[in-house]
């Protein structure tokens, strides 16, 4: 039995995983990162649009600060987020971006003087200030009041990931590539590491650690058409679920991005609309202002996706052999802008569609994009139920996104969560000894070995590729943008059947080393379980909130549903997860539930909302001289790590 | 971890930089020299007189009172070029595929990709390899016979001296190698990159191709002219061209007794037309042999 010991084990080499590892290493703890692929190939690299941080250097971001970013984030989440976390996040994000700048990210900078931009379909001249010249600039993104999304042309995620990985290399952090965590080792409610399969040799290795962090990204591949990488299969979430102890939070909260190309589902960044691109229907008509006169194309993602679907249902979609789609028009931005700031988009159009977006419209359609749900953690990043298990990034339900995440808030989350959770991981390593018996490790090892041997010896059975395809189709057709009770119950039943079938997978290629079919056979049953969590959670949640839109329950219902869904899978032989809920306490909210400002407000309000609003009024009245920091302290004192407490400087206003 | 330098105080040798620079430097000089060289040789196309003028000028004839010049100048010029040539060749050899295995890989790679610039490099290696021998022979001859450049002497060397196959090979090699080399130099050091380096590269490549064709044409024409002259002059091998011939003859008679055989009256200064050559075919072949021996 091969066992590798370390202080901190990080599963996942994306932005979140790398940043956690760096934090633990900086504090002097041995750290190993595991990744399915070389770290720089993680899906974080695909983020084109940018990272939100309220630096307020560009003229269109002037006046921006933590408060506004906080409000946008909470509103964006449809009040489903954990406001403590959102608060920590908005305070740390400017620091994160500045640190990344020192580590080498070539953020696009403000250039003094006049600049032509497209706002609301019109060419407008804006004038950047002299004193802002050379500071990190920002672009407009959906659902934000200010221009806050910092970017590097169209490669924000790529440059961030490269800087981060380079930093990890500089620090000598070992990254074990082509390794897949397939089970967590745990005993008595404490996690001790993971059983890991080497994807080249097929060998099983036990990685034993004090603290284990899961940063494996999203689970978009539960859907057949998604913008996600093909490795975004949610295995990290699944192995946490399979402990029976750790819970997954808000799994039904799945975001659809308005503009992925048809048919393959590759994303064209929100930057297209942020920079002035428009959505058109089959008549070339710009329809978004009819639905959302306020923010138009730049309404929140969930809103735009639903409006597009609605519009297509009215017969306004462009018919194609792959079903209806709409047009994204960026031709009005001009060649120069596209070739510089949206080049990746241009390349994608050229290679995959054979069109030049400078001259032609891009066929787009809402497509699965982001997983708000994930491993439920406390604000420290640790699982409330399984000690020593941490999670960060898209894999986690740290819960700053609630039921809908804002564009640009995700890569920001990965880094900020990495910084904050990393500190708590280090604290945990400091406070705990490695205390696990070999027999426990062996037990888990044996268990996984047996599963694999079973697969290799079974003569007849199910084809893993086919099971996966069936699952993806169910999710796409029945657990999509608009949901309803009937489809969802069908999906739940059908997935249950798939779950049973997945216990009888047989292989055609029966070798234990590098074997893609075996990899699939190990993953598919796990993925089906996750799909069940999503579908079941969606069926039970009889309201519409953020990305979760029930046609049969169109209103947001704070009274009954201001709570977080938690899912566990206690008994491995069961064919359904267990679902329970965690209330969000309105009386502790810095920003009590209100209207997001899209469409008609049909919210069923929570009885505490008014109470809390009055309370806040009173606190404000009682402290007339309090500045925003003092006020926030009064409204919602949060435990932010000492390192990240400081105020952030901005041009024109210093640390105010 | 901070800095490479701090960790290892050893300082890397500057030699590779110098050698690379020398390779390019010698290549550049040789490459440009060859352009000049081919233009000079090409003067034969315009007629024996022009070539003769060029040859004499090279011998710095205008400085000498006799108008005879100093063949020694040619000797030193050749020596310089020869040195550059050898230096360049030795530097170039470092880049050759050194083992059969390396050569195999190179060929595999070329076969797989069929990539122009990689193929061009291979052409350079092959032509360089050939020139190492062929060029050395030519330079050695030039160096050891500095005074022997002239329309007739050169043509005789080419035809009766059986140098033409060597020159043909050398010509093809040097034109390919030289122009490719100059193009590569621009790429290597980023010269003439302009605003759009990719476009400039296309332009330079086009220029390179044209230069090859141009110089190759000039060379081949020159060689043909030499061959024609040489064939027609086969019987009078050793005879010199132009007004200085007589003077030279005297000197040579004094020096080398066997030269008497060709102490024929000086030719008229005007370029010889074929008709006149026809009438002069009565010379003894044996003598020709003798003369050649002296020249070798």
């Amino acid at each position: 039995m091969k066992v590798i010991y370390t202080d901190s084990l990080v599963i996942g080499g994306g932005l979140a995983g790398l940043r956690v590892a760096i934090a633990a290493m900086q504090r002097g703890y041995d750290t190993i990162i595991l990744s399915l692929v070389p770290a720089k190939r993680s899906h974080s690299a695909a983020a084109q649009g940018g990272m939100q941080a309220s630096l307020g250097a560009t003229i269109k971001g002037e006046g921006d600060d933590e408060e506004i970013h906080f409000a946008d984030t909470v509103k964006g989440s449809d009040w489903g987020c954990d406001q403590d976390v959102a608060r920590m996040f908005v305070n740390t994000s400017p620091k994160a971006i500045r640190q990344l700048s020192a580590w080498g990210v070539p953020w696009s900078r403000v250039r003094r003087g006049d600049r032509e931009v497209v706002i609301n379909g019109e060419k407008v001249i804006i004038t950047e200030k002299d004193e802002a010249h050379g500071l990190i600039t920002a672009r407009d993104f959906g659902g934000t009041k200010k221009w806050r999304t910092c970017y590097t042309s169209d490669g924000a995620g790529h440059t961030m990931l490269y800087a981060m990985d380079n930093k990890a290399i500089q620090m000598g952090i070992p990254i074990h590539e082509r390794k897949e965590a397939i089970a967590l080792i745990h005993e008595d409610g404490v996690c001790h590491g993971a059983i890991v399969r080497d994807l080249i040799s097929g060998e099983l290795i036990a990685y034993v650690a004090k603290a284990t962090t899961i940063a494996t990204g999203g689970y978009g591949r539960l859907y057949s058409i998604t913008t996600n990488a093909i490795i975004s299969e949610g295995i990290g979430n699944a192995i946490a679920l399979e402990t029976g102890i750790a819970a997954l939070g808000n799994m039904e909260a799945v975001q659809f991005h308005p503009t992925a190309i048809v048919p393959v589902g590759i994303l064209t960044t929100e930057g297209c609309r942020g920079d002035g691109g428009l959505l058109l229907d089959k008549d070339g008509y710009r329809f978004m202002p009819d639905y959302e006169p306020g923010k138009k194309e730049l309404a929140s993602r969930d809103v735009v996706s639903r409006r597009m679907t609605e519009h297509m249902r009215k017969g306004k979609g462009v018919p194609s052999r792959y079903g209806d789609h709409l047009w994204l028009d960026i031709t009005l931005l001009g060649r120069k802008h596209i070739e510089k700031n949206l080049r990746e988009v241009k390349e994608i159009c050229e290679y995959f569609l054979g069109i030049d977006p400078v001259e032609e419209y891009i066929p787009v359609r809402p497509t699965q994009h982001y997983s708000m749900g994930g491993i439920r953690t406390k604000p420290t990043g640790e699982s409330p139920t399984l000690k020593g298990l941490f999670s960060a990034g898209e894999a986690a339900c740290w819960d700053m996104h609630g039921f809908n995440r804002l564009g640009g808030n995700s890569v920001a989350e990965t880094v900020v969560a990495g910084m904050i959770v990393g500190e708590f991981v280090a604290d945990y390593c400091a406070a705990n000894a490695l205390n696990v018996s070999t027999s426990t490790i062996q037990r888990f090892m044996k268990q996984e070995e047996k599963k694999i041997t079973d697969l290799l010896v079974r003569d007849f059975g199910e084809n893993p590729f086919q099971l996966k395809a069936e699952m993806q189709k169910i999710m796409m057709d029945k657990v999509g943008i608009f949901r309803n009770g009937e489809d969802l119950s069908q999906a739940v039943e059908e997935l249950k059947v798939l779950n049973r079938r997945a216990k009888k997978i047989a292989l055609r290629n029966r070798i234990s080393s590098s074997n893609p079919e075996l990899v699939e056979a190990i993953r598919v049953p796990k993925m089906i379980k996750l799909a069940q969590c999503v579908a079941y959670g969606a069926l039970l949640r009889t309201e519409s909130r953020g990305a979760h839109a029930r046609e049969d329950f169109p209103e947001r219902n704070d009274r009954d549903w201001l709570k977080r869904t938690l899912t566990t899978w206690k008994d491995d032989s069961a064919d359904m997860p267990e679902v329970f809920y965690e209330d969000l306490d309105v009386m502790k909210m810095e920003m009590p539930p209100g209207s997001r400002g899209y469409g008609v407000d049909n919210t069923v309000h929570h009885p505490d909302t008014v109470k809390r609003e009055l309370e806040i009024e009173e606190i404000k009245k009682a402290n007339p001289g309090a500045d925003r920091f003092e006020l926030q302290e009064l409204l919602n004192p949060i435990p932010i790590p000492e390192k990240f407490k400081g105020k952030n400087e901005r041009i024109g206003r210093g640390f105010k | 971890m901070d800095s490479y330098i701090i960790e290892s105080n050893k300082k890397k040798s500057r030699l590779p930089a110098r050698l690379d620079f020398a390779q390019s430097g010698t290549g550049l000089i040789l490459g440009l020299f060859m352009w000049v060289h081919m233009m000079l040789i090409g003067s034969i196309i315009l007629g024996k007189g022009s070539f003769n003028f060029v040859a004499k000028t090279m011998e710095l004839a205008f400085l000498s009172e006799t108008g005879h010049g100093f063949p020694i100048a040619v000797f030193f010029a050749v020596l310089t070029i020869f040195t550059l040539f050898i230096t360049h060749a030795l530097l170039g050899v470092r880049k050759f595929p050194i083992s059969w295995k390396q050569h195999r890989i190179m060929r595999d790679q070329m076969q797989m990709m069929n990539h122009t610039d990689t193929n061009l490099w291979y052409v350079q290696v092959i032509t360089g390899f050939i020139m190492f021998f062929a060029g050395s022979v030519h330079l050695y001859i030039m160096m050891t016979n500095p005074g022997s450049i002239g329309p007739y002497m050169s043509a005789d060397r080419i035809v009766s001296g059986n140098m033409w196959p060597l020159y043909l090979v050398l010509l093809i090699c040097v034109e390919l190698h030289g122009t490719i080399g100059l193009y590569r130099l621009c790429m290597k050091w980023g010269w003439f990159a302009g605003k759009d380096a990719k476009k400039s590269r296309q332009a330079l490549k086009k220029f390179k191709n044209r230069a090859t064709i141009f110089f190759m044409t000039v060379g081949i024409l020159a060689l043909l002219v030499f061959i024609v002259i040489g064939i027609n002059h086969r019987d009078k091998v050793g005879e010199r061209y132009g007004s200085y011939v007589a003077v030279e003859q005297v000197e040579q008679v004094e020096q080398v007794q066997t030269d008497t055989a060709i102490a024929v009256p000086a030719e008229p200064q005007v370029p010889v037309v074929e008709g006149t050559l026809e009438s002069e075919q009565a010379h003894e072949p044996e003598i020709v042999q003798e003369v050649e021996v002296t020249h070798e």
């Binding site: 070539p106 290399i169 393959v264 290679y351 080393s513 590098s514 | 500057r14 050698l19 610039d117 980023g190």
Partner: protein
């Protein structure tokens, strides 16, 4: 996108070094072409329908991550964004990238190579103050043009095409190769990196470094991200040759 269906013939290199007795060979598979089909789609089709053992690497399938470089009809390129309709005769020959450790079939270990490259060129900002930077304060300013220029060089996705397209690299395994030069040029350009020319010389000043490059320009011609290899290697060479 043509609507008429045709049958594509894929000749694929097969060899699993971990399987005893396995020998390198070319195997032909036939796939019915679909509109907009990429090599990514075709290979998955082959794996799912015909031969589940076939190995290849895709991650983003959008031409962004650099995982899927392979040799398609002799040309190193990103397979995921290569449409099958580009090949008129419908014959597509796939080989793994040469010059890297073979994992199996079309899969090669570029990750290992790239990590070693990053360590060799010390692919990070060298500034002793970078770790103690006060991130509460305004970030250090940078000229917008310089930032753009750095990004141009930072667009490399470590796909390895430039490595495989370089005959020099293949003949001399220790040659740093173009991806390393791009990385060095990127840091040499970055005002935040405080390395001196002398320090850079220590990294690349030999025949395994920039002086070993024979300007074959395969790197320039095969880089799927169109990085300016030629001008940047030339820039490094000029910079390094002048050092005393």
């Amino acid at each position: 996108m043509s609507d008429q269906e045709r049958v594509l013939k894929f000749q694929i290199f097969r060899y699993n070094p971990l399987k005893k007795g396995d020998k390198p060979r070319m195997v032909t598979y036939e796939v019915t072409e679909a509109p907009g089909m990429t090599i990514f789609i075709a290979l998955n089709d082959i794996r799912e329908q015909q031969d589940p053992s076939i190995q290849f690497d895709f991650v983003c399938r959008a031409g962004i991550c650099g995982s899927c470089a392979m040799v398609v009809n002799g040309q190193p390129t990103l397979a995921c964004r290569t449409l099958t309709s580009l090949y008129e005769d419908g014959e597509i020959k796939l080989l793994p990238l040469p010059g890297f450790e073979l994992i199996g079939d079309l899969s090669v270990n570029t990750g290992k190579f790239m990590r070693a490259m990053s360590e060799r060129v010390e692919s990070w900002i060298h500034d002793t103050r970078a770790d103690d930077v006060n991130y509460e304060k305004l970030e250090e300013r940078m000229d917008p043009d310089v930032a753009d220029e750095i990004y141009e060089l930072e667009r490399c996705v470590e796909c390895g095409c430039c490595v495989s397209a370089c005959a020099t690299k293949r003949m001399r395994p220790d040659f740093l190769s173009a991806v390393g030069f791009m990385r060095l040029a990127r840091f040499a350009l970055d005002p935040r990196d405080k390395r001196t020319d002398d320090e850079f010389y220590e990294i690349m000043g030999d025949d395994d470094g920039v002086f070993g490059c024979m300007t074959l320009l395969g790197c320039e011609d095969y880089c799927p991200k169109d990085l300016p290899h030629q001008t940047q290697i030339a820039y490094l060479r000029r910079k390094m040759v002048l050092i005393r």
